[in-house]
């Protein structure tokens, strides 16, 4: 079936099986690879996106349920990777493997949007459904506090991060 929604501010129509989870629409149809598959059963939070402004497990949302929705993925969280949560994550060097971090960041950004100065306990509660298998939890908690103290996202191009890797995958198009 045809489903229309807005992804990262852009009107999009896809023609997919109605029960195809939004996760796979994003990843395999729209080639937005930032949203990750971890468990498929709403246990790990790696697939978290903002659906109508709410942090949502995209593996549990059928394409048909996304009709007309506003969806934000990690790729659209800020124009230049300068959302306070993205900046704090880099400042504190949060990631180990990095696989869960898009989901963590989306959940953290939604938390800060409704609670700009969360306590440790509020952070733990909000982040409870996001697994980090490398267990970077201590830094995630610190980074959320740090993000809470940073100014909002900046639309000017960010300075290149110190020491960085070359263009990652997706090189063969």
């Amino acid at each position: 079936m045809k489903v229309s929604f807005k992804v990262n501010g852009k009107a999009t129509t896809v023609d997919v099986a109605p029960d195809m989870p939004l996760l796979w629409v994003l990843r395999d149809v729209l080639d937005l690879k930032g949203t990750k598959y971890g468990c498929g059963v709403s246990q790990c939070g790696a697939c978290t996106v903002h659906l109508r402004g709410v942090a949502t497990r995209s593996c549990q949302v059928a394409a048909s349920e996304a009709q007309g929705a506003d969806i934000t993925t990690i790729e659209g969280l800020s124009p230049n990777g300068t959302h306070p949560v993205q900046r704090a994550w880099q400042e504190l060097d949060v990631p180990q493997c990095g696989y869960c971090q898009a989901g963590q960041i989306m959940t953290a950004a939604a938390l800060l949007a409704r609670n700009p100065k969360p306590s440790d306990a509020e952070i733990d509660t909000a982040m409870d459904r996001n697994i980090c298998r490398c267990a970077t939890y201590i830094r995630i908690r610190q980074a959320i506090h740090r993000a809470a103290s940073l100014p909002a996202a900046d639309s000017s191009p960010p300075p290149p991060p110190p020491g960085r890797s070359d263009t990652p995958l997706g090189l063969r198009s």
Binding site: A17, D19, M20, P21, W24, D28, D31, L32, K33, G34, K36, Y37, G38, C39, G40, V41, Q43, C44, I74, E75, G81, Q86, W89, Q90, E91, D93, P95, Q96, C97, G98, Y99, C100, Q101, A102, I105, D124, T125, M127, D128, N130, I131, R133, C134, A135, T136, Y137, I138, R139, R141, P161, P162, G163, R164, S165, D166, P168, L169, G170, R172, S173
Partner: protein, 740 residues
């Protein structure tokens, strides 16, 4: 490694101009000296590396090893950049593909990247720096000794003239590279990059959601596959409703893969290939497979437990080590006996196993998250009947490894399916596939007896270790080293072993062996301290202060084989004393229901001692309050930010294992299916963790694993201190911790 090969390697050191200007330094290094190598990785002689400097001064450094989250993609280039003397801010890091001719060792495992590369990678950078200095000195007609470098620039000290590395590339490209044993390395006091908190080079890509991981690979015209294997390991397909499946929407083909009997190789199953992965998964829900009978269909965790108990009552099958007279010492002292058990557990890296492959014109190109890509290529070549030279492997960042991706079953499956299809195919496992087809940390039983004499000294120790295997061979990762602590530190000592057969795939999980052995031995040491009437920390310090038994050298050492690395009592004692000091051990009066436990363990050349404080409510609810860690991994913490992150992660990994992780086998298959019944740690379970370093004078060693093992027994001993309940089997969640 004979001398000729070594000479050839040295001659290979060279420099060349690259397209578009600039130089490329390809450095073929002699292997580590034998004393620094150790058993399982002794053949992984490291390494070589590349530096590219462009005329505009930009610097690209190749990271050769697979990145699983251990930080190696940042750490190895830091070593090169330090000695090259460039500004880290301008360095770009590029991941190497698999090329064992160029790079030799390209594995992620055993916490080996640091000890194997500490000097070789620095020499690569230093050799390039020397050449740039020579180029500048020749340009100015001055002695090299009058030239200094900093931040990618050579300066003539007398005249103040300067040339950037970029300006020197053309000249440097004409020079002969120095022999690597001639290069001068920096005094550690001059380090500007090593020792700094350097963020991971992929962090920006990670936080903005760029494609980085194996699962993110996309090729034009790519199809998607799921592969269904028998829940009873290695059972073959008897029949399947393939015709029905092929009619499902989006399905291109469904076919049976015959497979073999080797648990580490290609096993039988049904492949479903579709236009997208969801279509393949949707069809899979309608798949009906009849699996052939298999001899391991009767095995179960319950039957293993029964066999272990029976074996424990028989004479051990083998004695791995014996010192003194254990029986006599046990008769004369205060004896403690206890049986310890730890279960199978799964690695569960968060990125499910995957492999993208394209077979065309007799050649195969593979994108895969593998910790051992070279071994994977061998497996693929052997299974598909191909030559290794016809297989190209690209290394992707991995969403966790923990040892799971040392095994390349998913790579050979992906390659096989892609060869069948002739178009690019991405095989992606479901989470359920990953949990049900892991190479599990093997379960183990330690039947321990020890004795303390009237002065409270530990005088006798016997461990009958019951594990899996056949004859003199342990199943994968199910063994124990004859020198494993407390060997050599107790005068009357016996380590004995018995094994039972196993048809469950097992393998190395972060700190393999150690992650279970430390639990059994260190918790039992706590029991002996209690019997001795001594403080558990003081009892350990006294044990570590014993003069160790000196073993004779091993007979007929193989050429190139290093001496085994021996447990160093004073180094361990120092970290125990440090963690005692930092945690305030014995200095705080804790309320009933709160307790501290201490433990230490030596693995992967690292010395770690840890204290856990835990609180148990009267109702039996356990909370880990805090962990203190003291570690000695040598003379230099290369990247303190990553090192702390790794240690905290390893400690939390150990806590997760101890709290609730267990894989149970029933009717020959894994009962657990997903994170609902195989539980990973959540944020609210993560306590604060203080990390302290003991800097010693030995060459730096690895950090990915050795912090994990001690936390498990330290937590169990903290529970004992809090409640009087002794945890002798894992996971802790199976115990009732209620107290009154």
């Amino acid at each position: 490694m004979d001398t000729n090969v070594r000479v050839n390697r040295r001659q290979f050191l060279g420099v060349s101009a690259v397209a578009g200007g600039g130089i490329l330094l390809a450095t073929y290094l002699e292997p580590l000296n034998a004393a620094e190598t150790w058993a399982p990785e002794a053949t992984d002689f490291e390494p070589n590396a590349f530096i590219k400097i462009a005329p505009d001064g930009s610097v690209t450094i190749i990271a050769k090893n697979p990145e699983i989250g251990q930080g190696v993609k940042t750490m190895l280039p830091m070593l090169i950049a330090e000695e090259l003397d460039v500004d880290w801010k301008i360095v770009r890091v590029q991941q190497a593909g698999l090329d064992t001719d160029k790079y030799q060792g390209q594995t992620a495992g055993g916490s080996t990247a640091t000890p194997n590369n500490w000097l070789p990678m620095r020499r690569v950078g230093a050799a390039a720096r020397m050449m740039l200095v020579t180029a500048a000195a020749q340009t100015w007609s001055v002695p090299e000794s009058e030239c200094t470098t900093a931040l990618g620039t050579v300066t003539h000290t007398g005249s103040g003239r300067k040339l950037t590395y970029g300006e020197l590339t053309t000249k440097a490209a004409t020079l002969t590279a120095p022999a690597l044993d001639q290069v001068k390395l920096k005094d550690p006091k001059e380090f500007k990059i090593i020792g700094q908190r350097i963020p991971g080079v992929d962090n920006n890509s990670i936080v903005t959601g760029k494609p980085l991981f194996g699962i993110d690979v996309t090729l034009p015209g790519m199809l998607y596959a799921t592969f269904v294997k028998s829940p009873v390991f290695a059972a073959k397909v008897a029949s399947a409703n393939l015709e029905e499946i092929q009619k499902e929407p989006g399905v291109r083909r469904a076919f049976v893969v015959e497979g073999g009997n080797d648990l580490f190789g290609l096993l039988g199953g049904v492949a479903i290939v579709a236009d997208n992965w969801w279509a393949a998964i949707s069809a899979r829900k309608k798949l009906k497979v009849t699996w052939a009978d298999h001899p391991t269909a009767q095995q179960s965790s319950t039957s293993f437990e029964a066999q272990s108990l029976a074996l424990s009552k028989q004479a051990p099958q083998r004695t791995l080590r014996r010192d003194g007279d254990v029986d006599a010492a046990l008769n004369s002292g205060k004896v403690v006996s206890a049986a310890y058990y730890y279960p199978f557990i799964s690695h569960s890296p968060l990125e499910p196993q995957n492999c993208t492959a394209h077979y065309k014109d007799g050649k195969l190109e593979i994108w895969v998250p593998s910790q051992t890509p070279a071994a994977g290529r061998q497996l693929v070549a052997r299974t598909l009947g191909m030559q290794e030279k016809d297989i190209t492997i690209h290394l992707t960042r991995m969403g966790g490894g923990f040892g799971r991706r040392l095994y390349n079953d998913y790579m050979v499956e992906g390659a096989w399916i892609a060869k069948e299809m002739g178009v690019p195919v991405k095989l992606l496992w479901m989470r359920e596939d990953d949990i049900q087809h892991d190479f599990y940390r093997p379960a183990g039983w330690h039947y321990l007896t020890g004795a303390v004499d009237s002065s409270g000294k530990l005088v006798a120790w016997r461990n009958h270790f019951v594990s899996f295997g056949e004859g003199e061979r342990f199943a994968s990762s199910a063994g124990i080293g004859a020198g494993e602590f407390p060997a050599r530190f107790i005068p009357n000592f016996a380590l004995q072993a018995s094994v039972m057969p196993l048809g469950v795939p097992t393998g190395a999980l972060r700190a393999p062996g150690s992650n279970g052995i430390a639990f059994a031995t260190q918790t039992f040491i706590d029991e002996l301290a209690l019997a001795a009437g001594k403080d558990p920390a003081q009892f350990r310090i006294e044990l570590l202060s014993n003069a160790p038994i000196v073993d004779p050298p091993p007979p007929n050492p193989q050429p190139g084989q290093g001496q085994p690395i021996l447990f160093d009592g004073p180094r361990m004692r120092a970290v125990v004393e440090l963690v005692v000091e930092k945690s305030g051990w014995g200095k705080t009066q804790l309320p009933k229901g709160t307790g501290m436990g201490i433990a230490f363990h030596f693995s992967h050349r690292g010395y770690f001692a840890e204290v856990v404080q835990a609180t148990v409510s009267r109702a039996g609810q356990l909370k880990v309050d805090k962990v203190w860690v003291a570690g000695d991994v040598g003379s230099q913490i290369i990247n303190p930010s990553n090192a702390e992150n790794q240690v905290q992660g390893a400690v939390l990994d150990g806590i997760a294992e101890a709290l609730s992780q267990e894989i149970t086998i029933e009717a020959g298959q894994t009962r657990q299916t997903n994170f609902g019944n195989f539980r990973l740690l959540r944020m609210r379970q993560a306590p604060p963790i203080e990390v302290h370093w003991k800097i010693s004078d030995v060459s730096p060693t690895g950090i990915g694993e050795p912090a994990l093992p001690p936390v498990v027994p330290a937590l169990c001993s903290a529970i004992y201190a809090a409640t009087g309940k002794r945890i002798r089997s894992l996971p802790i969640s199976k115990h009732d911790l209620k107290w009154t």
